[in-house]
């Protein structure tokens, strides 16, 4: 998307008039005037998006005893509780990304083949599910696989016992989060998977290639960079997901996650908030790193096409 976007607008206008110092100055002034309507948005973005991030970095580097240093990061990384939250988030995000890639890739391909009519229903469903979540969704899953949920009861009658771990466990959290991240993965993937041309498959059939061979030699190599990029994106979003984890990981036996720790610290505000700031900066660094990797992989993918 972003690749095609920037192509046609940046061809600056060449002035046809002869240049004088005065017309140059007037030109510059008119350029500034022309840019004026964009200034409010830029200032607003700086105030509400850039400043807050700088404030976080500052707080994470400020020491309680005064001065500046990396002591807060050292403290977080050497505390076993905090390390557990970091590991929990990384593990959750990795599983989530992997599940999305494994289930979402064939799902996106299947939806591409549905044609306009089928997609007209599936796409809105994916849209809504991707921005759903929170307490309502958690409650629905509680009604399904909670201790007295419908599926749990059915299972108990058929096979006996309760096979489902709690929603706050690594299993529960991953199952719940798929409801949001799987649609996001599909929505991200469909445009790039749509670049697989029907003619390639036809050509493969004409040359008597099997379906497996087609996918191994043509289909997969083309979409592989996009699969990698979107899996990475889901990883980043999972690291930062908050609403669902906050709702289901309230009990102490639940998985510990960075975002939930940040949220609890911010709400309690009893202790110093440098731990929350440090965690937030760690998430920022990770997001910047994966964003860079995402762009790099996506450029690779665009080169193939």
């Amino acid at each position: 998307m972003s690749l095609t976007r920037s192509r046609n607008a940046d061809s600056g206008r060449a002035p046809a008039r002869p240049l004088s110092a005065e017309s140059l100055r007037a030109g510059r002034r008119s350029r500034v005037v022309a840019a004026l309507p964009a200034i409010p948005l830029i200032l607003f973005g700086i105030a509400c998006l850039v400043l807050p991030l700088l404030a976080l970095v500052k707080s994470s580097l400020e020491l309680r005893a005064g001065g500046i240093g990396f002591d807060n990061f050292v403290a977080v990384l050497s505390s076993s509780v905090d390390r557990q939250a970091i590991l929990g988030s990384l593990q959750f995000a990795a599983i989530q990304a992997l599940l999305c890639a494994v289930i979402g890739t064939p799902l996106a391909l299947a939806m591409l083949r549905l044609g306009q009519r089928g997609r007209r229903w599936w796409l809105p469903l994916m849209n809504v599910a991707s921005s759903f979540g929170g307490p309502g969704l958690a409650f629905a899953f509680l009604l399904l696989i909670g201790t007295s949920g419908a599926i749990t009861m059915l299972w108990a009658q058929l096979f006996g016992g309760n096979p489902f771990p709690s929603l706050g466990s690594m299993f529960g959290l991953n199952l719940l989060s798929l409801y949001i991240h799987l649609p996001l993965y599909v929505i991200l993937s469909m445009p790039s998977f749509g670049m697989l041309r029907a003619e390639w498959w036809e050509a493969a059939q004409v040359s008597r290639s099997s379906r497996f061979r087609y996918w191994r030699r043509v289909g997969f190599p083309v979409i592989a960079p996009f699969i990698a990029a979107h899996t990475l994106q889901i990883f980043t979003w999972s690291m930062g997901s908050y609403a669902l984890p906050y709702v289901v990981t309230a009990s102490p036996q639940s998985v510990a996650l960075i975002t939930v720790e940040i949220g609890r610290d911010l709400q309690s505000a009893v202790f110093g908030l440098e731990r929350a700031a440090t965690f937030a900066v760690l998430l920022m660094v990770l997001a910047i790193g994966t964003m860079w990797l995402y762009r790099t992989i996506q450029k690779q993918g665009a080169k193939i096409l």
């Binding site: 350029r31 973005g45 807050p52 083949r113 921005s131 759903f132 690291m239």
Partner: protein, 285 residues
């Protein structure tokens, strides 16, 4: 496309079916629970009642929370529209140099968790203006900043695909003033972009959790925060009401989303061009 590419195979139909069950079951169970008259220890409810629907849809708490969510959504949408449309126009038509700056800003809410943005806002206000914390203005501004890229991408895309630059140059040649050009040519030509972007902003503002929880909390109980209180609280009937409201929200958002996909088919270039008779009425790409 050949038949082999367009036809769904058997394994794909199984996959789609399984996914439909995964996404449908939670909705079914929410509907069942909202209609159940006590559902304990059985696979399916035995008695049904409309009581939860009546109490939840007429409860002042729910209505107040929904009202707050709606007010927040409207304010966020207005802020985004006022800030984004002129900026996108400038970025595409008059001074492309601001584009990289806006693009860089638009990446922030896409790459960073909104919780981090909210946390940053909390730290910033603590330092600069502590009395702003917990205010409606701060909450609205932060959500507007987090959601602006949805509208910006939609509008910028619409401006580019509808060749807004050529359109406004042609309008100027024909003697139209800046205001006339904006109101009669540009805005109509990007109407669908504005609408789909607005709906995206509205949907995410209405269901916003992380920023609202951090910056407002109990001080401004929106519908998602009400749902959280119902979920964690143990008062009787809360589950049924939560189920009813969640189900309703999902269906409402689904209808909204259907609308987005319907209006997203761009047809607008012919309409806009026709208004000024600038170019022969050709179909958009």
């Amino acid at each position: 496309m050949s038949r082999a590419m367009t036809e769904t195979g058997k394994s794909q139909r199984i996959l789609l079916g399984a996914v439909a069950v995964f996404f449908g079951l939670p909705l079914v169970v929410l509907l069942l629970f909202s209609l159940a008259d006590g559902w304990v220890g059985t696979i399916l409810p035995t008695d049904f009642t409309l009581a939860r629907w009546i109490t939840s849809l007429s409860s002042t708490e729910v209505l107040a929370a929904a009202g707050r969510s709606l007010l927040l959504t409207v304010c966020v949408v207005v802020i985004d529209l006022v800030l984004v449309i002129p900026a996108a126009y400038v970025a595409v038509v008059t001074s492309p140099r601001v584009r990289p700056i806006i693009h860089a800003l638009a990446v922030v809410p896409f790459a960073l968790p909104w919780l981090v943005i909210a946390a940053g806002m909390q730290f910033t206000t603590a330092e600069i203006a502590p009395n702003l914390f917990g205010s409606f203005g701060l909450l609205t501004a932060t959500i507007a900043a987090a959601t602006f890229p949805y509208l910006y991408w939609a509008v910028e895309n619409a401006l580019l695909t509808n060749r807004a630059k050529e359109l406004s140059e042609a309008a100027a040649v024909n003697g139209a003033g800046a205001l006339q050009t904006t109101v009669r040519v540009i805005i109509p030509s990007i109407r669908t972009g504005i609408m789909s972007g607005t709906l995206l902003v509205a949907a995410s503002a209405f269901g916003e959790f992380a920023i609202t929880m951090t910056l407002a909390g109990a001080a401004y109980e929106t519908l998602p925060l009400w749902a959280l209180r119902m979920f964690s609280g143990r008062n009787p009937g809360a589950g049924g009401e939560l189920a009813a409201i969640t189900f309703t929200t999902f269906i409402a958002m689904f209808v909204l989303s259907l609308l987005i996909t319907r209006i997203d088919t761009p047809r607008s270039i012919t309409n806009a061009a026709g208004a000024f008779d600038l170019v022969p009425a050709t179909k958009g790409k």
